[in-house]
């Protein structure tokens, strides 16, 4: 997703190495994705569902 749009930055974070980040984003199970500071995606989803959830707040429906 980051590669497809320069507005998007993606961090793959090793949770056990950075417990401060894991705490801040309340990571209790992996994989977990946090979009900006608010949207959470738990688990590994199929591509359509993942993109949908990750970008729901950014996409303007026509």
């Amino acid at each position: 997703m980051a590669f497809a749009n320069p507005n998007i930055t993606a961090y793959a974070v090793e949770a056990t190495e950075f417990p401060d980040l894991a705490r801040r984003y309340q990571v209790s199970a992996v994989p977990k994705t946090v979009v900006n500071e608010d949207v959470e995606i738990l688990g590994a989803l199929p591509q359509d569902a993942y993109v949908e959830q990750a970008l729901a707040q950014f996409t303007i429906e026509n």
Binding site: M1, F3, N7, Y11, T33, V34, V51, L55
Partner: protein
């Protein structure tokens, strides 16, 4: 001694052979207080031997803080993946890895290198269009553990 088995090295060599563009991995490290930095360097060092399109550039997180800020790196070890276009101009992929890329994260790193190296994206056309329409800054943090 290599961290990667001979069989896996061969598989990686074949995958990397599909790359059409060069990729530079900017490795942010520091000499003191980073337990996992040496291990990360060791893993990254395996890659250039498997493809002449992959290069590692080591940057000191403390001494080159402006570079770290430029790439949105606030901790180490960290890797920023940068592509080089045909004229050698850097194009930031905006893909970062924080922490040691071991286990499954290593596979993710390989996929990211292949993507930036021109292998093509696995995104469907509708998803690609949807992603391209985002016009505000978005930060995705994907948390994993080494398994």
């Amino acid at each position: 001694m290599s961290l990667i088995s001979t069989a896996d090295q061969q598989k990686l060599r074949e995958s990397f052979a599909e790359m059409t563009r060069s990729v530079r991995l900017l490795f942010f490290t520091q000499t003191i207080g980073c337990e996992t930095c040496p291990q990360t360097r060791q893993i990254l060092d395996e890659l250039p031997a498997l493809s002449d399109k992959i290069a590692i550039e080591e940057l000191n997180f403390v001494l080159e803080g402006d570079k770290a800020a430029q790439y949105g790196i606030d901790r180490v070890p960290a890797i920023a993946i940068v592509g080089l276009d045909d004229s050698g101009v850097e194009q930031d992929s905006k893909i970062r890895f924080l922490g040691t890329p071991a286990g499954y994260a290593f596979i993710s790193l390989v996929h990211a290198v292949l993507l930036v190296g021109g292998r093509g994206s696995s995104l469907s056309d509708p998803n690609r269009t949807r992603i391209a329409a985002v016009n505000t800054p978005v930060t995705l943090r994907v948390f994993t553990t080494p398994t």
